[in-house]
């Protein structure tokens, strides 16, 4: 079997190929989902109904830290997949755990950020703007939370079963998911935070 040496393990079975392709299609749906959230945010952005607007509450420093945490976690999850392709189980574990810790750190920061906003008088019920803002951010945050739980479960399977055709394709898919969340965040950072603070 020549394919042994040329195809990464996660692509080996027909079923894993389909799983990966299916996940890409799902990511297409996720792009539509988030662009709907963005579209709504842009439409409602200025409807603050007397409540605070973006520039009143956003804090650049915190947001930048969140951004770098997430960028780094995307990088480390890439390293995890790299290790996986080198059949380095320990490497996968280490990089993935770092990824998860970064993810948790991001969530921690985000929750603090939300608490801060609430103290500033911006709850999800305050205005059209806050509703769209919290829902966009919250949907992203919920995705991150889901990702952390999901990848943790996959790591358990990895420990139990080692790097197999199945675990590798599952982990590969979860890394696609994680990178995707980073992409979404880049747009949030740019079009919610930077735009909100500049304009």
């Amino acid at each position: 079997m020549t394919s042994h040496t040329t195809t990464p393990l996660e692509y080996k079975t027909e079923q894993s190929q389909m799983n990966i392709l299916g996940f890409w299609v799902f990511l297409g749906a996720e792009i539509v989902l988030f662009s709907t959230l963005f579209a709504s945010y842009f439409v409602l952005e200025h409807n603050t109904a007397g409540g605070p607007a973006g520039q009143d509450i956003f804090i650049l420093k915190d947001v930048l830290i969140e951004t770098f945490i997430l960028l780094t976690s995307s990088f480390t999850s890439g390293l995890a997949i790299h290790s996986m392709r080198n059949h380095d189980k320990k490497g996968v574990l280490i990089w993935m755990i770092i990824t998860l810790l970064l993810g948790a750190g991001f969530l921690y920061m985000e929750i603090n950020e939300f608490i801060h906003y609430v103290h500033e008088g911006a709850t999800i019920q305050t205005s059209g703007f806050t509703a769209a803002f919290f829902t966009l951010l919250g949907t992203h945050g919920a995705h991150v939370t889901f990702g952390i739980i999901w990848i943790s479960l996959l790591l358990v399977q990895l420990v139990r079963r080692g790097i197999t055709e199945k675990t590798s394709s599952k982990l590969f898919i979860s890394s696609l998911y994680w990178h995707f969340l980073d992409v979404v965040w880049i747009f949030i950072f740019t079009f919610v935070y930077l735009k909100g603070m500049v304009m």
């Binding site: 389909m18 392709l21 749906a29 539509v32 709504s40 409807n47 703007f129």
Partner: protein
């Protein structure tokens, strides 16, 4: 919440239905228990991952929902059959057209089409199953959970009453404080997850699981339309997800996305709803176009004329379908530029659709047209849909639409596209693929009754609506004054709906009759058809094909049949890999349904507790390493020998 608020009470009509529903349920459970069928049901149906069985369950659910939606339709027709009638009060009428619209589109058209897709697509591409069989089962069960939750509103809590479009501000908590519209938001959300999963499933199935040699331009046209429909599903359903999420947050958690107060924008709902809603109507019509193409080619005994241009036309319709949503609210006070652009994009859809119509006509030309029941539906579709289509183009002209919008003219338009486009197609498909599902044909004679009653009734019901619409009658009016002069039109229309109902009854009788008496000896290819699904036994064996066929041509089966090169060699048989049954889909869907129910009543703590069920299901699922099983060669041989004479 007191008990009498919980149960819908009072009206004798509803009380009778409640009792009927209750008795039916009890009777059904008793019957199954008496026949000791629970285990069988669980093993053979509830936990199945077989695409054909899932398809059949979809179809069953769809037919049931058609009955429910149809009764709604009849009630509306009865109420407006004469001026000033009092069969239904305003509130009831409002609830009924809302549930009618939602049920017909989302719980009738969608499952029937997806059901037929499920049965046929893997067979047509020579696959063993879909790409993700377990996900497929989940899609069905979660759709079913959504549908049941929606129907529950009829007896518990109250039905939604803001139209199938649920426009805000009306659908907001201030104006519709009951739980009815919570049902709408949550049950559609739940069912929507299933549809999205189906879309992904079929995209991957069609990309990856085609039989060897079946390149893109050799795909049966129904596979093409399903593929493109699935792409539209993936593109459009996430928008609905978000719109419904906002609706849920507004209604349950006091946010202000669409509320007039505090900076919400009700027009955002319209925008998002139609960003999904318009593609949705093409989601239901494109697979139907595919079915008609199959049926027409088979019974004209010719190949499909202009196959390639048909494919491009479908792709063109799909692309344009994402660019026209504003035509549903031209009258919102958009700028003239917006209305002009969307008029143009909308009208452009007529062009690829016209291409399809002419290709169908030219497939028929120089053919030998056999008037089987299935073919009759496909034939009747062409003129009826043309009427619906050209009136659609009239609506597309924004300035003219200022006079048609939200009138009965519009109602006539969409029934003239939905019923010929979708319902006729489903009927054509059912008559056509019935033997593949069950191993016997539906009776042709009763079928003709079904056909003529339904088609004549359909035209009688909906043609008058064009005229009352032009006479200033708006939609959703539960009553009108005698002085309007609409009574005669609408009376005629009501009679038509009874004729239609008789047609539907004929279908039910046909199913009953054929189950009991129809010949079980139909062979694998009862219609002398063209595509691969007819190369295997009827009903199709659970492994579909003992040996996956190699394809060289479009309509490969047809040519091989002619050449007589279809046989199966014993030496080619290899064990077939099959997926195992799974309980996770139905349990997970049940948990979703339960969470949904608690959310409807805003019992958040209970919903959270039930959500644990979802988490458990998902965790169990990710730890599931079941690899399926193999069917041994002798079992294959035995089954194949049973139906084919050509096993060498």
């Amino acid at each position: 919440m007191s008990l009498d608020e919980f149960f819908v009470t009072g009206d004798p009509l509803i009380l009778a239905s409640q009792i009927a529903i209750g008795l039916t349920m009890v009777g059904l459970i008793a019957l199954i228990t008496y026949l000791k069928r629970w285990k069988w049901l669980w093993n053979e149906w509830f936990t199945t991952v077989d695409h054909k069985k899932i398809g059949i369950m979809y179809i069953l659910a769809g037919v049931l929902m058609f009955f429910r939606g149809g009764v709604d339709g009849l009630l509306m027709k009865a109420q407006t059959s004469r001026p000033g009638l009092d069969l239904l009060d305003a509130q009831h009428y409002d609830e009924i057209f809302t549930t009618h619209g939602v049920i017909m589109i989302l719980f009738m058209a969608m499952p029937l089409l997806i059901g037929i897709m499920n049965v046929v697509i893997p067979l047509q591409i020579g696959a063993r199953d879909v790409a993700f069989p377990k996900l497929n089962a989940f899609s069905f069960w979660i759709f079913f959970a959504g549908a049941m939750l929606f129907n529950l509103s009829f007896v518990i809590g109250g039905s939604p009453d803001a139209g199938w479009t649920s426009y805000f501000p009306l659908a907001g908590k201030e104006f519709t404080p009951g739980v009815g519209n919570n049902y709408y938001a949550i049950s559609l959300q739940i069912a929507g997850i299933g549809t999205l999963a189906t879309g992904i499933n079929f995209v991957v199935t069609i990309i990856k699981m085609r039989a060897p040699g079946m390149s893109w331009m050799k795909l049966p046209i129904f596979v093409w339309t399903t593929f493109i429909t699935s792409i539209i599903i993936v593109a459009a359903f996430p928008i609905l997800t978000i719109a419904l999420l906002y609706m849920t947050l507004d209604r349950l958690f006091g946010t202000h996305f669409f509320t007039v107060a505090a900076g919400g924008d009700p027009m955002l709902w319209l925008n998002l709803f139609w960003l999904w809603g318009h593609p949705e109507v093409y989601i239901v019509v494109l697979p139907a176009f595919g079915m008609f193409s199959e049926v027409i080619a088979t019974f004209a005994r010719k190949n499909l004329y202009g196959y390639k241009s048909m494919v491009y036309a479908v792709a063109g319709i799909a692309f344009l379908s994402m660019l026209v949503w504003v035509h549903h609210f031209y009258t919102m006070g958009n700028s003239a530029a917006v209305n002009s652009i969307f008029s143009l994009t909308t009208m452009m859809i007529a062009i690829p659709t016209g291409v399809k119509i002419f290709n169908w006509l030219f497939t028929l030309r120089k053919g030998r047209i056999e008037f089987s029941t299935s073919m009759l539906w496909a034939l009747a579709f062409i003129p009826c849909f043309t009427i619906g289509g050209v009136t659609g183009v009239m609506l597309a002209m924004a300035a003219a639409d200022y006079q048609y919008h939200n009138t009965m003219f519009l109602v006539a338009h969409f029934h003239y596209v939905l019923i010929p486009g979708v319902v006729f197609a489903v009927f054509a498909g059912l008559y056509y693929w019935w033997p593949k599902m069950f191993g016997f044909k539906l009776n042709e004679k009763i079928g003709k009754w079904h056909f003529w009653l339904f088609v004549i009734g359909f035209n009688m019901t909906f043609m008058p609506m064009f005229f009352v619409g032009l006479d200033g009658m708006s939609r959703r009016m539960y009553t009108y004054a005698e002085s309007t002069g609409w009574g005669a039109w609408l009376g005629f229309s009501a009679v038509g709906s009874l004729v239609m109902a008789a047609g539907f009854a004929a279908l039910c009788y046909n199913i009953y009759w054929s189950f009991r008496y129809a010949s079980r000896n139909v062979g694998n290819d009862p219609w002398n058809a063209r595509s691969l699904e007819w190369a295997t036994a009827s009903p199709a064996p659970h492994y579909n094909f003992a040996v996956v066929p190699e394809v060289e041509n479009l309509d490969d089966f047809w040519y091989k049949k002619k050449k007589g090169t279809l046989g199966l060699k014993k030496s080619d048989l290899k064990p077939v890999h099959m997926p195992s049954n799974s309980w996770t889909p139905i349990v997970l869907a049940g948990a979703f349904g339960l969470v949904g129910f608690f959310l409807v009543f805003e019992w958040i703590p209970l919903a959270i507790i039930a959500a644990v069920g979802i988490v458990v299901g998902l965790v169990a699922n990710t730890f599931d390493y079941d690899d399926g099983y193999h069917i041994p060669v002798d079992e294959l041989e035995e089954e194949e020998r049973e139906w084919r004479g050509d096993l060498q």
